[in-house]
Structure formats: C-alpha cells, structure tokens
Symmetry: C2
Subunit: 492 residues, 2 copies
C-alpha cells in the first residue's frame, strides 16, 4: 500500500447518499483505491506513507464539469455589464489578443486555483486543447476531460470563445431595437466547413495521442447548435459512440442562439432540432440549458442527457439561475462547472457549491432547495457521471482522486453526532483543501503544491495579461461598453 | 511614523468613488493614518516598519455591520430547512444549551474567520455583549460595535437569539394551516418589562465601561418592534440621541413579525409604527428590511435610516434576496453583514460581497445590478456610515484600519491599465487578507495571526460544540425538523 489516509469523517459518496464513514480510512495502491472503511480495520503499518486526517473531512476530489480556464488570464476584465456586451464588447477584444502562451499561462492560473480548492478533474473546453494538456495538465498531474471545441462559424463572424450573442459584425450591438445595429440576429451566421474539419482533426487526434494516458479523457465539443452544420453534429455524435466518448455541447444558452436556430431550422428550438438530429441520448452533455423550456429539459433528462450548470457564471453574465434543481427533480444527472474566471471570478468548486445552493434557494423562494448534500453529490459523482468517469466517489477499484479538508476557523466544527456538520460546512464554509491527490499522487500536500509554483504563475499572469490588455485596449475602447464607461467614470 | 505600507493598488474609498491610488502608500502614526498618496512622495526611511504591498491591493479594513458571532459554535446545525423551522426546530434547541463560555468560544471562532478575511470592525449583536468584548474583541484587538440585545418577550416565549417566527409554544409549528398548531401567531407574545430593564442596564453600562476604549463603540439593540414595548423603543431612541449612539433594530424580518405587529398595533405595519413612534431617523440602523414595502423602504431611506443587508443569511434561511440594490437606488446608506454562521456559513466578508453581487443580479435579472464597486463601498464605507464610525476609508486622520490583499491564483491578475482589475477581483475572487491592521496594530501579518491561535480555537470549538449538541440532542429530536429527517434518512 502506497498511501493510507487515516481518521476523520470520510464522505465517500458511495451509494445513493454520501456514504459517510466516521473515523474512516483509505488505502491507495498504484493510484487506485484499495481500501475504504473504518480506520481500525486498516493496517497502517503496511502503508509507505500515512496521512493523518483526524479532525478533517476526506472526500473524492471534486469535479469541475465545464471550464475554459485559459480565460483566467483575463480575470477582472469582463463583469458588471449587460449580457449583450459581455463577450463582444468586454471579454472579446482582450481574448482576441491572446496567443498560445497567454492561454497556457491563463490555464495554469485557473487550474492551480481549482486544485487548491480540492478539484481533481476538470473538463477543459478549448480550441487546441492538447496544448493545455501538454503544458499544464500533464506537468501538474491533474485529470482532464480534453474537449476540443468545434466551431464552424466563419472567422470574423464570431469570437473563438464562442459567444452565441456575437454575430461578428463590429457594428452589431446585438440589440434589435438599436438603430445603429446593422447586424441581423435572425440571419444565420455563415459557416465554414474547413474550419470545422480542422477542429475535428484535432479532436480525433486526441484519442490516439492520449490512448494510454490515464489522466486524459478526450471528448468532442461541437460548441453549439447554431455554430456547426447539422451533419457535423450528427457525425460527431456517431464518432462519440464509436469512441465511447462524450459529446459536450452548449445547449439553449439564450435568446441569440434561439433566434439563430429558429432562422436556420424553420422556427424550431434548439432542443427540438437536437432531438430530430438524433443526438439526444446519454452521450450528450448539455451545458447551461437555461434557454430550454421545462418540458424540453424533462425530455432531455428522460433521454439520459447530463446537464452541467455553471451558477456563478450564468448569474454574473446573464442574471439567471441555472435550472439545476429542476433538472435533478426531473431525474437528470447534474454536474457543476465554473465556466470562466472573467465574469464569475474563478474555479473554486467548493465556493461554486455554495453559490449553487444559495442561488437555487432564492430562485425557488425555498430554503430547502439544493441542500448541501445535493451540492456535494453534484460536485463529485454528479460531475463524474456527466463526464462518464469513474471518479467522484471513494470506492475500491476507483482511481485515487481524493481531497482532504481541514475545517479551519471558517468551516469548523466538524462533528459526528447528531449531525455530520462537515456536510453543510464544506458547502457553506467552502474551505480550501489541505491535501489533494490525483490517481494516488499528491498534487497538494499540507496546503502547498508539491510540484507547482503558484507565486510564479501569478507573476507570469500579471506580465502576460498586462501585455494583452495593452495591445487590445484600443479595440476594447472602440467596441464601447458599460465597463469602458465605468472606467472613464472613475469607478475602476 | 510607525508603519508605512508601500506599493500596490490602494483602494482608499475616499470621495464618491473608490479613490484609487496606483503605487500608493499609507503612513501610520499612533494608530492613525498620517499619509495617503503616491509611494514616491513618502519617506519610507522615516517608518519604523515598512510593509511591501507591491502587487497587492490595499483597502480599508472591511466592516461587518451585523453579526451574531457566538453562533459560529453551531455552524452546520441549522440550514436546508423550511424557514419556519430554522430557529425553533433546528438552531433553537442547540442555542438554548450554550453557556457563557460556549458563546465566547463561538465568538472567537467567528471573529477569527472575519479578521482572516480582512474585516476590522464587527457590529456584534448579542445579549451580555460585554463578555464577548472582554474575552474576544479586546484580547484580539478588533474594533467592535457592542450592541446589547434588548428583548422583552417573556422567557420561554421566544429564543434569546430572537427569531420572530418563534411564538415560544413548543407545540406551535408556526404554520397557521397546521391542525396541530396550538399557538396563535396573531396573539401578541407576552412582554416582561423586568427583562427589558435588565438588558437596558447592561446596555447603559457599556457606555461607562468603554468610554475610553478606542476600539469599542456601544450601541442600543432593541431587537425588533414585536419584541419590546413601544415606550421602551421610544426611550432607547431618546437615550441613543443623548449618547450619540445608534439604535440597531431588526426591521421587517418577515411574516410572523408583520402579524405580531398588526395584532399589537391595530393592523399597522412595522415601518408605520416605527414612524409613529418617532424613531425613524439617522440614528436608526435597520437590519434586513425584506418584509417592508418598496414605498416604506423609500421613506426610511429618505429619513436617513441605514440598512444592513445580510445576503447569505437571508438567502439560506428565507430564500430571499435582501433589497440592497433598491435601498441604494433610493439613496439610502447600505452596509453588509454576515448575521450568523449556522445557516449561511460564516463571517467571510469578501465572500459576502460576492454573494451580494450575484444574488442581486439574479434577483433583478440584470448582470449590472450591484457591481463590484458598489459591493466594495457597501463593505467598507457603507457599513461604517451605517454604524456611525469614521472607518471604512483610508484618509488622513482616520483610524488605521487596513487590509492588504495578495491576489494569489484565485484573484490574480491585479492590473492597472486600462482596468483596475483588483476591484472586480477582490469581490468575485474573494481572496483572504495577507495583512490586517486595526488602529495601526497588526492583527494578521503575512497570512498569520500575530497574537491568536486559530488551531486552538478550532479544537476548543469542536470540544464545546460536541458537548452542546450532545446535551441538546433530545430536545432537538423532540422538536422535529427537516434536518432531523435528513439525518435519519442518512444524508448527514
């Protein structure tokens, strides 16, 4: 046995509940969990290394089921603006100025934030995702669902970050009532097949490149129904079946997508078209879904489609609460994601559980909505199930992705009787992880990264972001936005 | 000059905006700010101690304008239940089992959490608040608005924590439609004048005891209109005027208060009665206000009443978003508070700013609602103005209450041009403070408490809380609640 984690409250997330074991222990051998149970039945002496988790909570590593971490480089450049301005007029001009190394530096910042919070798996949704895998995930030893973005909207017509509200026309404010708006949101964007071909080639190559990489799981990422040809979507769905991979799509993100889809498909909705294309099944991972109807969401849940909700992001960008409670009640699988740092703030998943719970309660006007235990399941086994991975629970034979949380002054006390207070206190107290292991290897130990330099990552990010913002400042000012106004008004 | 804090982005919160100074510096002498301005105009060599804040954000210490920190001992024992059960059937039985030392241990836990997050002033609302001042605030050197709770509801009729939904009848479920409900929410609770007299005596004695204590500001805390005699409220308002102190009242907390007030005052609302009693002016600090009408809130704002919103608490307990945006738009002074740890989670104020912003956006369906800069003002000068203190800004002559935030991987990058990203990144990234000074004295230095033992505070809290929960378990089970059911169902 390589590692034994001994003592504390183990939230194994096995079974239908949280699988709580008091005075628990984990045994780990060759990256796999080989013992789960009471500490007094484990022979500690047989372990090369013993982690004392007395007084702590031990959980599966958390799963961030939808993230664009490169954008962490631009944290603070896009928030507090009308939804219609968020991509085109605030984030877009800066994102367009990022090069490959900028994206790597941003990704490193975001992934380090995630891992420090207890995350061990990130679904990274990006164009040229293999660069991020090679430069960040691989060296850090963090599990990644490498999802190559496939977006066929002709270059110049939509940002690479893929905002459905961006028609690509620099004069298009996106507001149909704006007299200066020369774009027509009901006119389908032109699509460029060769762009899609190249992206699919990159996506396919991931499966060969990482066939033997235990921490990398490739997936297909046709960005959204309005951004790819229907036959592209059908083809990728078929390939996902052949590859036994997931098809991860932004679904029903809002008004502009709805109008584009209506224009392209004779007035039908995104979900209706996806159903007709035959891609609605348990391979499909649907991010967001706030633009679908309750009946459509029920149909997706019935068909086995997994939903990923990103509460901070959708709250900050759209002023909307993702329908995670409704989707769970419909029997659907729900994971949680952090989306991107500019807008909501970052990739801290315990904080996202807290945010999901509070937003769900106020949205429903019901303090019992999305209780702590549902949040913990969504942030572990829910996200893992959505992504098709056998992580998110502590079970013999599963990969040893583990987080150990010390309560600290912000989450104490962790008690056993009559309530396991670690359950609500992990969610509402949202402490950072003390130890994080991926496949049995320590990534964080005693609150410090084992083999990463967070201070250096910050310095690099400041340096790179300064250059990006300088280079793009003119375009950003020309685009005009509430954020430019706020800066000019002396607010920030 | 005792201390110079040199470099970084200084958010001084002077003037109408955030008073941003790039490459700023602070000079501190005898606990008072003696220099605010560019670093290159300060003679560092004249300082006994120089703090390097290069790359950091320097802000006024944050102000938690409404907190019951003793309840941090019970963190995790009351959440995810219907509002009507929160106090009576979940928190209440445990709170009733706490003794003075339990309250001190809980307070220490909560105050340490607050200070680690960058808070330098807490409005502590408690019965026998001087014990907390003596045992916790004084030794830690944290500024406190010591607000003695005055509650005249006859003992046995309402919890000391003062939930307006608690009629004190153990068989009263609080649900008027419940056939087993023997209590009548429209029957005024009996009031006990002698209980009020004792509390007022404690309140008055604070002013003498702390007349020369620069970190202690006493205030009067008549708990709520339905919990004191009207002449008590008038008297305390008069005393507040004579003492130049604040009158801090829970106002319009919800349905039960509204019905009690209607029964007692001929069908009138809380705000109407407060107006008739003549206590609506700039001495009044009104916590919550979600049960008032928009017109009533406008009237309060016009009269100079300050509002304190507690977003996490009211979201978690009631499923309601506090009307902070509306109150600001009406021209009212708004501070933010954390209320208590069981329910929302804790006393981390940067996180509360984030929560306030996201909840306000989804409540309004408007991503521009409560932008980062408004949150920062509410968390600093807004709270200070509400409490009548000259803190919450970095200005020459003001007390040197200061927080220094290093961005870390969760809030970087802090940039200068073209956007001061520290503004959104402090709010949405919500980092912990690296250094915290109160009246020029370090309470936190380089991420560690100077003269406090957080690990010991956690151990003490676990120990004390275990005993309290054991002692009260029977009463808690007998009360019955959704949380008891969840425990019995194996969820936590």
């Amino acid at each position: 046995m390589d590692v034994a984690i001994v003592g504390g409250t183990h939230l194994t997330i096995r079974g239908e509940r949280l699988g709580i074991v008091d005075d628990g222990a984990l045994g780990i051998t060759d990256g796999t969990i080989t013992y789960v149970g009471p500490a007094n039945a484990l022979d500690e002496a047989a372990a090369d290394r013993v982690v004392d988790a007395e007084g702590c909570a031990v959980t599966p590593g958390l799963v961030d089921a939808h993230a664009h971490t490169s954008l962490a480089l631009l944290r603070g450049t896009a928030q507090d603006v009308p939804e219609i301005e968020w991509m085109r007029r605030t984030l877009g001009p800066f994102a367009a100025a990022m090069d490959d190394e900028d994206r790597v530096v941003g990704c490193r910042l975001g992934v380090l934030e995630a891992v420090a919070s207890g995350v061990t798996t990130i679904c990274e949704y990006a164009s040229d995702v293999s660069t991020l895998v090679e430069e960040v995930y691989g060296p850090l030893g963090v599990r990644v669902v490498a999802t190559e973005t496939v977006n066929e909207v002709a270059t110049g017509h939509i940002g690479d970050t893929g905002d459905p509200d961006d028609t690509g026309d620099p004069d298009d404010t996106g507001d149909p009532d704006d007299p200066d708006d020369t774009g027509d949101p009901d006119d389908p964007y032109p699509l460029d097949t060769s762009k899609g071909d190249e992206a699919v080639e990159r996506a396919e190559s991931l499966f060969d490149a990482y066939a033997d990489a235990p921490l990398v799981e490739p997936a297909f990422g046709p960005q959204a129904l309005d951004m790819v040809h229907p036959d592209r979507l059908e083809h990728l769905h078929e390939r996902a079946g052949e590859r036994d991979a997931k098809l991860h799509v932004h679904v029903a993100q809002g008004e502009r997508e709805a109008r584009q889809v209506a224009a392209r498909y004779g007035g039908r909705s995104t979900v209706e078209v996806l159903e007709e294309l035959g891609v609605v099944d348990d391979r499909l991972v649907a991010a967001h879904l706030h633009g679908a109807s309750p009946d459509e969401r029920r149909r997706l849940a019935d068909a086995g489609v997994a939903m990923v909700g990103c509460p901070s992001s959708i709250a900050a960008i759209d002023g909307i609460v993702p329908p995670v409670v409704e989707y769970r009640e419909a029997g659907g699988t729900v994971g949680l994601g952090t989306d991107q740092a500019p807008g909501p703030g970052g990739h801290d998943l315990p904080r996202e559980l807290r945010t999901a719970a509070l937003l769900s309660k106020t949205d429903a006007g019901d303090p019992t909505a999305f209780p702590a235990w549902s949040a913990l399941r969504a942030g572990t086994v829910g996200g893992a199930a959505a992504l098709g991975l056998d992580v998110g629970r502590l079970a013999v034979g599963a990969p040893a992705d583990v987080a150990v949380f010390e309560p600290g002054v912000g989450a104490a006390p962790f008690l056993r009787e009559p309530i396991h207070t670690a359950v609500p206190n992990l969610v509402y107290g949202a402490p950072r992880a003390r130890d994080v292991l991926v496949a049995g290897a320590f990534v964080v130990r005693n609150g410090s990264f084992v083999d990463a330099d967070p201070a250096g990552a910050v310095v690099a990010a400041v340096d790179r972001a300064s250059d990006v913002l300088s280079a793009a400042e003119g375009d950003w000012r020309d685009a005009g936005s509430a954020l430019v106004d706020a800066v000019d008004d002396g607010w920030l």
